[in-house]
Symmetry: C2
Subunit: 324 residues, 2 copies
């Protein structure tokens, strides 16, 4: 039994952001059309953390995969990744294990790509000014995805700590190119922003409704869990809200759960799925109110990326072969 | 991220049958005491086959694990294993992935060890004559486990094809030692058998109730699924039936499901768990009727074996290290 080992550097080599954004277009369309089998994840929990098992299959992807990802908060004090993970790829034809992929880079890349496709599909076509909240591990890919989706000339980078904002702008000048990165400017600039991306762990909205313009597009991809939100109810209630998967977001997205808990929306709340827009079945309204894209992440994203990475590595003979 | 690769030959080196039988004693006790977290397996299915994900954790084992095992029947025509699998081991302290194990050998070994512990616990102490039905991929470990559990002088080997029985006896003489292996004898010898092990894919009983003695112990570990049985209802109804896990067997074991479908047993049917006997909480009756051990297999078995194998490999520096 031969299994191809695809480490972090090789994942990076096999899948670029522009291609990952294309793949997200497909993944979300497949998800909306019910073409992806991604059963409920299984969680094993002990006193130190959680291990999550997220399997997925689609005939289009041509593989089975499962992401095994742990969440151990204390790892930060151990010099270890807080969410280490791998992905196991099995053949759709023979069931044979084909590959093991490092999952951390892929997760960050595909989460960026989600922001990328949402920005492509939902943001004003002539967007040039953006904002990015959060300078953590996933923010570089968020920035890169924004830059792929629109011709930004300026992106404001907000972080709670000034030095983090400055460092992030310095470290990411390489991908920004002609786009100017500005660390923690006066918040008045938010009114000028055509796109705002939030990738934080904030429990509450990172900007208030009166800080933003009526035609802004917002990507909210951070703050996981039913009790955290990056966007205020005021903004959400007057926006066109678009989600990655309705059932998952109604259950897990704090943006929605908190509004329901407060009685601001009813059980009939029905945000659009981005797949419905991609497929041309639905569209958002006039650009006289914000659009908000909320993603909680889906195994379909990992599936389609893993398939692409595996095939690229296979075709080019990349990655060590392990005999099991 | 460093992951230890433990191939089939190394699994074999790290865990012997006598030790695996000891581990099954612990696994079944843990299972009965509710010390193992082994959620429902997840299945992904396509037109060619199924991939099963079976996660498990216990604080005693000190690891998380998931077995990823495929069932692709047509693989037999491709020269590939029909049930290829791997096990992913994660640290209970940090959640970090620690190892990837080949799972086919381990599955066969621990299924043998289940027969081993059941024979130790349930068979007549002075058992010397045995029978083994089935000469497929798992039968060598079934034989080895029987030999570990009792001092057999003779084991009758039954197969539908005479040449398979003969070949099996020849190929396994190495582990039989002084115990004589006899290929497909006259079935009258079944009356003399103290232990009968069935490891077949037969849809119906492989022996009739009038062929066996009243004091025989039977291990039924084959014929997976709610519609297949290796033991007749007549035998089961007059036997002390012991299972690996009650909830699983009431749902999945054909031996039980078929009797319930036929109205031979009611919803209150309550076989013993082998863990209850190991813990001393329950015992079978007088040896004036057969005992039947039915196992459908449990992730707890994989968990405890994977932990042992990983630790052995780690302590002895065995297995390649993959950088991911």
């Amino acid at each position: 039994m031969n299994v191809r080992l695809i480490d972090q550097a090789l994942v990076e080599k096999c899948l670029t952001m522009p291609r990952a954004i294309e793949l997200m277009r497909q993944a979300y369309a497949d998800l909306t059309e019910g073409k992806v089998d991604s059963p409920l994840r299984t969680a094993l929990v002990n006193e130190g953390g959680t291990v999550l098992y997220k399997p997925a299959y689609s005939s289009g992807a041509g593989i089975f995969c499962v992401k095994v990802v742990s969440v151990f908060a204390d790892n930060v004090n151990r010099g270890l990744p807080v969410t280490p993970g791998i992905i196991v790829v099995n053949s759709s034809e023979t069931g044979m294990p084909l590959a093991i992929l490092e999952a951390g880079y892929l997760t960050s890349l595909r989460t960026g790509a989600a922001t990328g496709i949402a920005t492509e599909v939902l943001a004003p076509a002539d967007a040039t000014i953006g904002a990015l909240f959060g300078t953590g591990g996933q923010s570089r890919h968020q920035l890169e995805a924004m830059l792929c989706a629109r011709d930004f000339t300026k992106i404001y980078v907000f972080s709670r700590k000034q030095e983090n904002a400055v460092r992030f702008c310095e470290e990411n000048a390489d991908i920004a190119g002609d786009c100017e990165l500005v660390a923690n400017p006066d918040r008045a600039v938010l009114k000028d922003c055509h796109v705002i991306t939030a990738a934080t762990t904030s429990p509450t909205a990172v900007f208030s409704d009166d800080e933003i313009s009526d035609s802004v597009h917002i990507n909210a991809i951070g703050s996981l869990g039913a009790e955290r939100t990056e966007v205020s109810a005021e903004t959400l209630l007057r926006s066109d809200v678009v989600v990655d998967q309705r059932a998952a977001c109604l259950k897990e997205a704090g943006e929605i759960c908190l509004m329901r808990d407060q009685g601001l929306i009813g059980d009939d709340y029905h945000p659009l799925e981005i797949g419905e827009i991609i497929l041309g079945d639905q569209s958002t309204g006039e650009r006289d109110r914000p659009t908000v894209f909320k993603s909680v992440g889906n195994a379909a994203q990992d599936l389609i990326c893993s398939a692409e990475i595996y095939r690229y590595a296979e075709e080019h003979g990349l990655g060590a072969q392990a005999e099991l």
